[in-house]
């Protein structure tokens, strides 16, 4: 037995800590009387129906847009890609809120223009919103698969006399099925764990019912429902781990050259997606801002959000460093890292339920900011770990060796070589955690100390109270945060994933 890497004990501790929520839920749920009843079945049906509709919708929108952004030569390609991927960075409850308010009899569109619009609520409304905010998963994974394909195959099919749509269907699509599936499963996971959209659309899915149970002091019933939801999440995660995106031999990139009117038609066809997911929320919030100003809004909401998220980001990075180090050190370490990823799969409402119980058992934590920070860290730790690990992996080990050979002690090599080179990853990881925490709704609702209002929870209170107009400022601030998140996603080390620079072959 060789000596354990220094980071293992700490990483092990953190991994065990990450398992706490699940353990707590099991203990809690064992108190409950009913395992499964008729209402429960309806909730399951609603959840699965929403998931299925969202998956279908996101594939139907995501795959054509992936073809468009991967293969078609358009002016401002990068701009269109960012615009079309933007809904990914927005919390879907923003979309749900504004769509709910805009449509239907008496909705904002009806009030402004007199045009009758269909009401948005229940399953269709929730499915539309979830589709609008999850299709970018499919878009990005499919696009990555498409870009890895060799263009010669399509060109061969076309020179053999097959039309372009038929070539794409028979030659390209069978080869990107896994990429599409990977995106669709991410969309399914996101749908399962989303609280805001079904709650606003009044669709009884697991997340909404858990919240209702919690508010009715049925904590053990909420825990039982949480466990059931976790089982579905686990099934989707298992499916996801089965999907292998096989790398293709790199080849030439396919480029299609549409005529001017074809470009216009394609862009117009994708406009409704952007209109509904980005333009509409912005327009509604702006309308409310003009109409009602900043009534009811207090600066402390923004400060609370920022303060709590900043703390969460700091703690997450500090905790992530040993985990990321352990993950590189050996197999056991990689397992520990995997365990910390659990939290990302645990829906916020479930995490909230589990930690409320922890708070009840440990009174010194109950109703404190600390418990909320723990919830944020447990949920978003994987973002910091992933970011730090990928920057550490890109660090050439021979650099540290070179420093040592030049006479530096291990400590000096770490502070002068490793740390500066991984700082970028730490900052990126912290920023990701910060932005996610800013927008987090369900766990904040459950765990925020009394009177501790953040942008997200204030938006929720406003919705519950029916004072929609007061959502303007928190809504716009959250959209701004999402914009920052998007900018981060498209810069730095993630550039590799969504590279849009046109690498034309140096051919001949």
């Amino acid at each position: 037995m060789t000596r354990w890497p220094a980071s293992y004990p700490l990483a092990l501790l953190i991994a065990l800590f990450a398992l706490v929520p699940v353990g707590v839920l099991v203990a809690l749920a064992s108190d409950t009387a009913s395992l499964f009843d008729a209402h429960n079945l309806k909730v399951l049906g609603n959840t699965l129906a929403l998931m299925a509709l969202t998956v279908v919708g996101s594939v139907l929108i995501g795959v054509p847009l992936a073809l468009l952004t991967a293969y078609v030569h358009l002016p401002w390609r990068k701009f269109w890609l960012i615009l079309l991927a933007a809904p990914l960075a927005m919390p879907s409850y923003i979309g749900a809120f504004t769509l709910y308010a805009a449509f239907g009899p008496g909705g904002e569109i009806n009030a402004l223009t007199g045009l009758p619009t269909p009401a948005m609520y229940g399953l269709p409304g929730a499915a539309l919103v979830m589709t609008l905010y999850t299709y970018p998963f499919v878009l990005l994974t499919t696009r990555a698969s498409l870009l890895s394909l060799d263009a010669s195959l399509v060109n061969a099919a076309r020179t053999l006399g097959m039309s372009l749509p038929a070539s794409l269907w028979t030659v390209v699509l069978p080869r990107v099925v896994n990429g599409v599936a990977a995106g669709a499963l991410l969309a399914a996971l996101y749908t399962l764990s989303d609280f805001g959209t079904p709650a606003i659309m009044r669709l009884d899915t697991f997340t909404r019912v858990i919240y209702v149970e919690y508010n009715a002091f049925g904590l053990s019933q909420a825990a039982m429902l949480s466990l059931q939801l976790l089982v579905i999440v686990a099934l989707v995660l298992i499916l996801e781990s089965r999907v292998k995106v096989t790398p293709e031999r790199p080849g030439r990139k396919l480029t299609l050259w549409p005529s001017r009117w074809q470009s216009v038609v394609m862009l117009l066809a994708s406009a409704p997606v952007v209109l509904l997911s980005i333009v509409l929320p912005l327009a509604i919030f702006t309308l409310w801002l003009v109409r009602e100003g900043s009534a009811g809004f207090e600066f402390s909401y923004a400060w609370n959000s920022t303060y709590a998220s900043l703390l969460a980001a700091l703690v997450a990075v500090v905790v992530a460093i040993p985990v990321a180090h352990a993950a590189q050190a050996g197999r056991a370490g990689r397992l520990m890292e995997r365990v910390t990823y659990l939290g990302f799969g645990v829906p916020g409402i479930v995490m909230g339920t589990a930690l409320v119980y922890v708070g009840l058992q440990l009174p010194f934590l109950y109703q404190t900011l600390g418990l909320l920070i723990i919830a944020y860290v447990l949920r978003f730790l994987s973002l910091a770990v992933g970011s730090i690990r990928s920057s550490a992996e890109s660090l050439d080990p021979s650099l540290v060796k070179a420093a040592r050979l030049l006479g530096a002690s291990p400590k000096e090599a770490f502070t002068r070589i490793t740390l500066p080179l991984t700082m970028r990853g730490m900052i990126a990881g912290a920023a990701l955690v910060f932005l996610e925490a800013m927008r987090e709704l369900p766990a904040t609702l459950l765990l925020g100390p009394t009177g501790f209002e953040t942008l997200a929870t204030y938006l929720w209170r406003v919705y519950e109270a029916g004072y929609f107009g007061r959502a303007a400022i928190p809504g716009l601030l959250l959209v701004l945060m999402s914009g920052l998140g998007l900018a981060l996603m498209f810069s730095g080390e993630r550039r590799g994933d969504i590279d849009v620079i046109d690498k034309r072959d140096s051919e001949c």
Binding site: A156, R158, T159, S163, E507, C508
Partner: protein, 339 residues
């Protein structure tokens, strides 16, 4: 019959193919050669309709394409053989060759002719490079194209295979009786396989002629240098003869060259002897090639001349030698460029 008039292709503001015109006979094979980045592959893609053209026209029997009147690749009936084979990995050899055929008769013919019968049910991943390229060729020819484009079909294969497959492809094209444009960067391939050779430089066609003409009467110094070793030596052209420091030879003027000229010398046009007093050059380096040996000699007049001699004739670097022009056939003569 393929006819290309004033074809131009732009990538953004860069002109990649510039004012290209050519016409091909019934079963003629045209080899397109040129250095990397000269636009060879772009020309093929433009002819196949895979990229838009910005000027000129392409005409082939039933269709006529120009910058404004585009014809989709699938409507052109042009066959294309790709450098990386482009076999559909999820289909077997037979399914690949049969891709869009209703009647498998022609597929069988080409599978048989190219010796692929035993591999009908194999997947492309299990084939060797040479087999893959044969399948690709069979697939192209079985679809009865009126015209075939080959994009460096041999560049991904090892040297031993290249030589035999080169002739197999040529024979198959002749058997099919279709005109073809074959892009390569291998000058030996270009000279040996094609009926005509087109040499490209920066998107422009420098010369298009039978291989012997391109080699012996290159239209420019660029062509001379691109096809084989070329040395230039100053001389004086008078009454069809060029007189130089290394002797004289009959000369064919290029671009009306006359008076003070540069004579193109191929390594085989010159003899080399080790000698004492009448030496006129110093060996810079030698490269052993098996049956022959290539020398680079600095003449006393300051020229760098490449000479190929029998391997029995050895000289070491730094040794004094005597060079003499031995050829009796006319050599290309260029206008002197001021240095």
């Amino acid at each position: 019959m393929l006819s290309v008039q004033n074809l131009s292709v732009d990538y953004g503001t860069t002109r990649v193919v510039d004012d290209l015109s050519l016409a091909l006979g019934a079963d003629e094979i045209l080899m397109l050669v040129g250095p990397t980045g000269c636009g060879k592959t772009t020309i093929l893609q433009a002819l196949a309709g895979l990229i838009p053209i910005s000027g000129g026209s392409i005409e082939l029997g039933a269709w006529h394409a120009s910058a404004t009147a585009t014809v989709a690749p699938e409507k052109r009936n042009v066959g294309m053989v790709f450098q990386d084979f482009a076999l559909f990995p999820h289909l077997t050899v037979q399914q690949n060759v049969n891709f869009r055929l209703k009647d498998s008769h022609l597929a069988d013919h080409w599978l048989e002719l190219l010796g692929l019968n035993a591999l009908r049910n194999a997947k492309p991943a299990n084939l060797s490079g040479g087999q893959k390229q044969r399948v690709a060729l069979a697939r192209t020819l079985a679809h009865e194209p009126v015209f075939v484009l080959l994009d460096e079909p041999l560049s991904n294969l090892d040297a031993a295979l290249k030589d035999s497959l080169r002739w197999e492809i040529r024979n198959a094209l002749k058997e099919a009786g279709v005109p073809a444009i074959w892009v390569t960067h291998d000058q030996e391939e270009a000279l040996s396989v094609g009926d005509r050779v087109g040499i490209l430089n920066r998107g422009k066609l420098e010369q298009i002629a039978p291989p012997e003409t391109c080699f012996c009467e290159p239209a420019s110094r660029f062509v001379a240098r691109f096809l084989g070793e070329a040395s230039f030596i100053p001389g004086r052209l008078e009454q069809g003869y060029v007189t130089t420091d290394l002797g004289s030879a009959p000369g064919t003027p290029v671009d009306g060259a006359t008076g003070e000229v540069d004579l193109l010398l191929r390594p085989d046009d010159v003899s080399m002897h080790s000698s004492g007093s009448d030496s006129n050059g110093t060996v810079r380096w030698s490269r052993y090639e098996g049956g022959t040996c290539l020398y680079s000699v600095d003449t006393d007049a300051g020229c760098d001349i490449k000479v190929r001699v029998s391997h029995e004739n050895r000289a070491a670097a730094g040794e004094r030698v005597k060079l003499a022009i031995t050829t009796t056939h006319p050599l290309a003569v260029f206008n002197r460029v001021p240095t």
